[in-house]
């Protein structure tokens, strides 16, 4: 579905999200590891990273990842997320025509990792993109999810002199990683 991806990318980038796409899980993993390194993630308060495990990590040696990136944890608590620079979560759906990510955020780890750190890395399958909100709302429903989160670009405000400023209470960077191979979970 190249068309949906292109629309999504255009719309998400228009609201300052960063959009990447990889064919293979391994490529995406490498990208994320590089990003964590480039951001100087380390075992120090404010420099850590939290990763809420999703299907991307299935079969991946997490111990090795933690050795590669000191300061990375898969055990997401409020304290760990608050001490982190980067939070990584997996999302279930995306909306092409608004550049929006959608997830069942009832598990609190997903909210903590996507709300508290300065950088949020969102991972999802390329074929999880639906054309619009009505289509996504046939997939996800309050009857099954107690806390549905839709995220469109990083946190923003224009409350001082109407000047758009990115990054208020939520992340100032939203890095979206699409993986073709991931398939729907």
């Amino acid at each position: 579905m190249p068309h949906l991806f292109d629309t999504f990318k255009t719309r998400a980038e228009a609201v300052s999200a960063e959009v990447h796409r990889f064919g293979l899980r391994g490529e995406a993993l490498d990208f994320i590891v590089d990003l964590l390194r480039a951001e100087g993630v380390a075992d120090a308060r404010g420099s850590r990273a939290v990763w809420v495990p999703g299907s991307l990590l299935d079969g991946v040696d997490r111990c090795r990842l933690r050795e590669q990136i000191p300061g990375l944890t898969f055990h997401v608590t409020q304290e760990a997320a608050e001490a982190s620079k980067v939070g990584i979560t997996q999302m279930e759906w995306a909306i092409a025509n608004t550049g929006t990510l959608v997830t069942d955020a009832a598990p609190v780890e997903r909210r903590l990792a996507s709300a508290l750190p300065v950088i949020h890395v969102a991972v999802l399958a390329t074929d999880a993109i639906e054309p619009d909100m009505p289509a996504v709302l046939t997939r996800i429903h309050p009857d099954r999810s107690g806390y549905i989160s839709m995220i469109t670009g990083p946190s923003r405000t224009a409350d001082i002199e109407r000047v758009l400023t990115i990054g208020v209470h939520g992340p100032s960077r939203l890095v979206i990683v699409f993986i073709d191979e991931l398939g729907r979970n």
Partner: protein
């Protein structure tokens, strides 16, 4: 009007920060909003919103019941009350029971409506607003000046001062640094708070869900970190079905901030886990506070269709000058006036309802299809009924209702004004009248009114008749416009009749809330105009046209005079504005404009009633273009000129700056002529240009095309 209110207006219009910020915003908003709606059928979307919210407004009790049942089935506790004090008490009790010392809030207008913060603080709790604008305003000890942008009236320097005091450190007026400081300061408060209070943009009965829309991400933290979450929801936020959220989520971000979607939309159904693994203590307060009473009033029920996007503020020519503080309450602007009258009390809207100039800009953009100007008139009517009109108004309307006396006085004025009139203008008046011509000259009353000139016009005989409704301004100030109308219609083969008994259209009375006077005017005019067997009743004044075509009926309905409605409808069916009729006659081949000419470059001003109510913005442009004029569009051609009938006399301090903007936009086109279809706008703009000295002619479309018509086919 009370001095304090006049003073607050004076302060606001002279606050360069405020008018500058709001003015720039309103200009950018229009462009941004249009872009955000690209590819969306706005009429379809707002039709669906009006439908789902209209349904909800008609079933508030039932939906509140369903919502309660479903939300409680999911584990939330729902508290329903009509009493605002009970809401405060409930939350206070909750705080006590749960050992709450510190509260973080994301935006909730409903909580501001009931002064919740004050109550909690009095009880010793620490309350922090976390929406950046709300926090700034809270620290400054002020009130939000805009529903969506609470601190738009403050500069970055002022914000730096406010923050500097809070952190005891001298901060620079650097916006990104100030935002970062707010993040850090508030993050600690988020992490330490035991209770989070939010509002909700939508409450879904079918699923027991609340939907919260934000950009900053504060609502996600407010609803995630503290162990207790209280959502305060006005019952008008209810919708029946989950899919009802779709049109609202389509319109709200586009109309509020010109976004396709806000950064965050959270749909919360029942308690979710807290960071420590326990389940959220979730309470949803369904607050009525007069909303059900509003729903039961047929004239105001549609106000519950409001989705609080504030687009009515953003397009309002008055709001962008005065901002929200002059409204003195939680809700501001057009919709705020209506909500204040209900949530507070009718008399609290007494002064602010007068701010509405009835231009109708808000009607065009409202995603809930709320007829705001009509509702404000209805407030005016009820206030007038409750308190009676002022002595001055009583005297004035007494005269208007007596046609002979009214017309005799206008004739007398043409003699009395002589010492002050020159070249058709009155530029100065002595003593207490001097305010009236401070920012624009007034037209001199014509020596010979149209009704007398009409008798001298020699018309070709025809069986086909058009009745001409002149209206006061054409009759007594601009008779030449009336003569042009007659000339054009004669060339199309009509004989024009002028029913002598026609009188004031009643708009001034209606706009002042004096509906009984307006009804008297309506009856007199219906009798006079239906007496003639005319194919059309034409008027060259859009305000009069709207009165004849729409308002007579509305006035009768408001007053319960249903028996008069059929005759009002019979008249309405014949009523047409000049340009629409002329265009129709051109299309029918009954009028031929001399084409192929290259006449002057002109610009066209859209009069509010013509464009917004009669939807006739194309007809005059096409006529003028066909006649050979080069029509150059001015910026904001359809923005009010500030006239608004007696508005410009009651609130000259607002009318004048609105006019100044209009004159600037006219002059920027470089056109030698500004055309329009409304003698009221002509009076305002002509008077402004006279004071300004710019050599630009103001002409009615009828006058401009009257000389460009080829002799018609003989009929």
């Amino acid at each position: 009007m009370a001095t304090a209110f006049k003073e607050s207006i004076h302060t606001a219009v002279n606050n360069a920060n405020l008018t500058g910020a709001l003015g720039r915003f309103s200009e950018a908003y229009r462009v941004g909003r249009a872009k955000a709606y690209e590819g969306i059928d706005f009429e379809e979307v707002r039709g669906r919103i009006a439908e789902v919210k209209g349904y909800a407004a008609g079933h508030l009790d039932e939906l509140a019941g369903i919502f309660t049942k479903n939300a409680e089935a999911r584990g939330a506790t729902v508290f329903r009350t009509s009493d605002p004090h009970a809401v405060n008490q409930y939350i206070l009790n909750l705080a006590r029971e749960n050992g709450v010392k510190s509260v973080v809030k994301s935006k909730s207008m409903a909580s501001e409506e009931i002064h919740l913060n004050q109550r909690l603080e009095e009880a010793g709790l620490t309350v922090n607003e976390t929406d950046l604008g709300e926090w700034i305003v809270q620290l400054a000890g002020e009130r939000p000046s805009h529903m969506v942008m609470p601190a738009i009236h403050l500069t970055k320097e002022q914000v730096a001062d406010i923050f500097s005091k809070e952190v005891n450190e001298r901060l620079a007026a650097d916006i990104p640094a100030l935002v970062k400081l707010a993040r850090n300061e508030l993050r600690t408060k988020f992490l330490n708070a035991e209770m989070g209070i939010s509002g909700a943009n939508i409450a879904v009965a079918e699923t027991g869900s609340i939907v919260i829309v934000t950009n900053e991400g504060n609502a996600r933290l407010v609803t995630t970190l503290p162990k207790t979450h209280v959502a305060i929801v006005g019952v008008e936020k209810l919708v029946a079905h989950f899919t009802d959220i779709l049109p609202i989520l389509t319109a709200l971000p586009r109309s509020a901030t010109a976004q396709l979607l806000t950064s965050y939309v959270s749909i919360i159904t029942g308690p979710s886990p807290n960071p420590d693994g326990s389940l959220k203590n979730l309470h949803i307060v369904l607050m009525d506070n007069h909303r059900t009473q509003m729903a039961d009033d047929p004239m105001f029920k549609e106000a519950l269709q409001c989705i609080r996007c504030a687009s009515c503020l953003n397009v309002c020519p008055v709001f962008r000058l005065v901002g929200g503080h002059v409204f003195g309450k939680t809700y501001t602007g057009g919709i705020g006036t209506i909500l204040t009258a209900w949530f507070d009390e009718l008399t609290k809207s007494e002064e602010i309802q007068g701010l509405c100039i009835q231009c109708g800009n808000c009607v065009d953009v409202c995603p809930g299809k709320v007829p705001i100007p009509d509702m404000i008139l209805e407030l005016r009517r009820r206030l007038a009924k409750q308190q009676g009109p002022s002595l001055k108004e009583k005297a004035a309307f007494g005269i208007v209702n007596n046609r002979r006396l009214f017309h005799a006085m206008l004739r007398a004025a043409s003699t009395v004004q002589k010492p002050f009139a020159k070249d058709g203008f009155i530029r100065h008046l002595p003593m207490f009248l001097s305010d009236l011509c401070e920012f624009r000259s007034l037209p001199a009353v014509a020596e010979v009114p149209f009704r007398d000139r009409f008798l001298k016009i020699r018309q070709p005989a025809s069986k086909e008749k058009v009745a001409f409704y002149a209206g006061c301004l054409i009759d007594f100030a601009y008779p030449e416009t009336g003569e042009a109308v007659v000339k054009v219609l004669n060339k199309a083969g009509f004989q024009v009749v002028f029913p002598e008994e026609q009188t004031c259209c009643g708009a001034p009375a209606r706009f002042s809330g004096a509906y009984e006077v307006a009804a008297g005017n309506a009856t007199a005019n219906i009798d006079a105009l239906l007496k003639e067997d005319a194919a059309y009743v034409v008027s060259a004044c859009p305000t009069c046209t709207v009165a004849l075509k729409h308002d007579f009926t509305k006035t009768f309905v408001s007053l319960g005079m249903a028996e008069h409605v059929p005759r009002a409808a019979a008249l309405a069916a014949k009523v047409i504005d000049f340009s629409t009729l002329a265009k129709k006659l051109v299309d029918e081949g009954r009028l031929t404009l001399a084409e192929g000419n290259h006449l002057a470059k002109i610009t066209y001003h859209d009069s509010c009633h013509l464009k917004k109510t009669l939807k006739a913005d194309r007809a005059p442009r096409e006529l003028l273009g066909k006649a050979g004029y080069e029509v150059t569009e001015m910026f904001e051609s359809d923005m009010c000129c500030g006239m608004g009938g007696s508005y410009s006399l009651k609130l000259p301090e607002i009318s004048a700056p609105i006019l100044r903007r209009k004159l600037t936009n006219i002059k920027s086109t470089g056109a030698a002529i500004v055309a329009m279809d409304c003698p009221g706008c002509a009076m305002q703009i002509r008077g402004g240009l006279d004071k300004d000295g710019a050599p630009i002619e103001v002409r009615h479309t009828a006058e401009l095309i009257a000389d460009r018509i080829l002799p018609g086919p003989t009929r």
